[in-house]
């Protein structure tokens, strides 16, 4: 019971940290962070191979995680949903939220799609081979490491958003990971311009997005 109370307090505190942000309306200098990011290939949630460069001309919000994450991923995606919903429909057309899995062995395109749909159907998941997932993470210096032996934890013990479909008679098992909590704000040229997280006041992140949306495209 004490644990539940603690969880409630922390949840309220995190909500407060988001709500507190309401009045902050300043613009920030958003320098290009040289060396952070770059082009890569991945499998999207429709099962298609895509290149990151295909998102050029859009502002991208990129986060790393995995569908069986019981900690930060649902909160990060809830935060991104809140930010995205505050944008106008016109702005939303030029903004793309990407969620790159650190557990491509488990997170199939279908499962990732179903998971992300709980937050927003416009969000796109990125998966692929282990090599592809590691390359994306290394380009963005997004640290991640397995905390358990591969596929050793039964998912029924994990607080999760959605249950993956498994063949009858098989036990669904996953790996648990530690991973970076960063949200990368990427401009229309594919350059990383800001590092944020769920502690960034929502309105502050929206101002940054709008700043990048208003930037003139360089020739």
């Amino acid at each position: 019971m004490a644990k539940d109370t603690m969880l409630k307090i922390i949840f309220k505190l995190s909500l407060l940290s988001l709500l507190f942000s309401g009045d902050i309306t300043f613009a920030e200098e958003l320098p290009i962070l040289n060396g952070v990011g770059g082009n890569f290939t991945a499998i999207n949630t429709d099962g298609e191979e895509i290149e990151f460069d295909s998102f050029k001309n859009k502002i991208v919000l990129l986060a790393f995680g995995y569908t069986n994450c019981a900690d930060i991923c649902p909160i990060t995606l809830g935060y991104l949903k809140m930010v995205y919903n505050k944008l106008t429909p016109e702005e939303q057309q030029h903004v793309q939220v990407l969620f790159s899995t650190v557990n491509p062995e488990y997170d199939t395109p279908e499962h990732l799609k179903e998971f992300l749909a709980y937050f927003n159907k416009d969000f796109i998941g990125l998966t692929g081979t282990r090599e592809q997932a590691d390359k994306i993470a290394s380009l963005f210096y997004a640290e991640h490491q397995a905390m358990t032996t591969l596929e050793s934890i039964e998912t029924k013990h994990v607080r999760r958003i959605n249950q993956k479909e498994v063949e009858s008679g098989k036990t669904d098992k996953t790996t648990l990971f530690n991973h970076s909590v960063m949200i990368y704000l990427i401009d229309k040229q594919g350059k990383t311009r800001s590092l944020d997280y769920t502690g960034t006041p929502g309105d502050k992140l929206i101002i940054k997005i709008q700043q990048l949306l208003n930037e003139q495209q360089s020739s």
Partner: protein, 322 residues
């Protein structure tokens, strides 16, 4: 286990979020002032680096070459000399102790003197020296007056002695000074190299850059932009890619390369700030691993440079894993 991890994670994030909420406000960039700021930054970086390189040469050249206190692992650099071509150095040498075995720079303060191209560098150093076979310590504070020429070359035009600030009993201090020849040669090169990357060559007279600039290999990795050519051509393409900005040294570490006489590896972290080719503000945290061979005449031959642009340190929470 999961709940505990969740609670820990959330606590950390909530605490950090309250810190970040009070973040600084910046004026929105305007292209003219951004370019002007970049020019100022380049001038500052180039002046600082070129003067620091000269100072490292100055202090390095005071240290005797065959002392035994620098540690066993460095005994193979005893023959290295710092060429001292300045008349002023010869005149000022008499104000220092005779057999200096180590120098530690305790403080350094740089001030620009109006628009005359002159800079004052106030330095306080602690020196260890041998006197009648006994190791002694001496604190020295001095003011270097630099004149930057039209070709951006720094020249020491005056050195004045000041009163040291500390009043501790130095000879009873157990502190050992290990800042020896390699320490100063590494820094002389590193600062000179940074100035060179920003377009000012102070290394011709000190480091003999002509000996290696067209031979050594220089690999560069900036996200998915990669180069692997000779220093001169890699540097030109790299600078075109980066845009306009100034390099400032953030940390430096040097070590011997095992099994090779007089071969060293320098690990430096550099902060770069400027604007990309389109004029957008940009920053880099740069790691360079430089392998070089030290010659007996004090010149240095660079063998290879490996450069990688890292995640800049911007936020206190960015290394958190959940």
């Amino acid at each position: 286990m999961l709940s505990h991890k969740f609670v820990r994670c959330m606590l950390t994030l909530v605490v950090l979020s309250s810190v970040v909420i009070t973040g600084e406000a910046f004026a929105s960039p305007d292209s003219y002032s951004e370019l002007s700021k970049t020019d100022d930054r380049i001038e500052y970086a180039v002046s600082l680096n070129s003067m620091a390189s000269k100072l490292m040469n100055w202090y390095g050249s005071l240290i005797i070459t065959n002392h035994s206190q620098a540690g066993k692992e460095r005994t193979n650099i005893v023959k290295i000399k710092f060429p001292t071509r300045f008349q002023l150095w010869k005149e000022h040498r008499a104000t220092y102790p005779e057999k200096i075995t180590g120098i530690q720079i305790r403080s350094a303060d740089l001030n620009k003197q109006g628009s005359s191209g002159q800079y004052e560098f106030e330095i306080e150093v602690l020196m260890t020296h041998m006197q009648s076979d006994k190791s002694e310590k001496k604190l020295i504070k001095e003011l270097f007056l630099f004149q930057i020429s039209d070709s951006r070359q720094p020249e020491i035009i005056q050195v004045s002695n000041l009163s040291p600030t500390a009043n501790e009993n130095l000879n009873h201090s157990s502190q050992t000074i290990l800042n020896d020849l390699l320490y100063y040669k590494s820094r002389e090169f590193a600062y000179g190299w940074l100035a060179y990357m920003d377009g000012v060559n102070v290394m011709s007279s000190q480091i003999n850059i002509e000996n290696w600039i067209d031979n050594a290999n220089y690999s560069v990795k900036i996200a998915d932009f990669e180069l692997n050519e000779q220093v001169a051509s890699s540097l030109q393409k790299r600078n075109q890619h980066l845009g306009k900005g100034g390099h400032l040294l953030r940390s430096i570490a040097s070590k011997m390369i095992e099994g090779l006489n007089n071969h060293y590896e320098l690990d430096i972290i550099i902060d770069w700030k400027g604007t990309d080719p389109s004029g957008t503000p940009a920053i880099s945290k740069i790691s360079q691993v430089i392998q070089f061979k030290l010659q007996e005449d004090g010149s240095l031959i660079v063998l290879s440079i490996k450069e990688k642009h890292l995640l800049p340190d911007l936020e206190p929470w960015q290394k958190i894993l959940c």
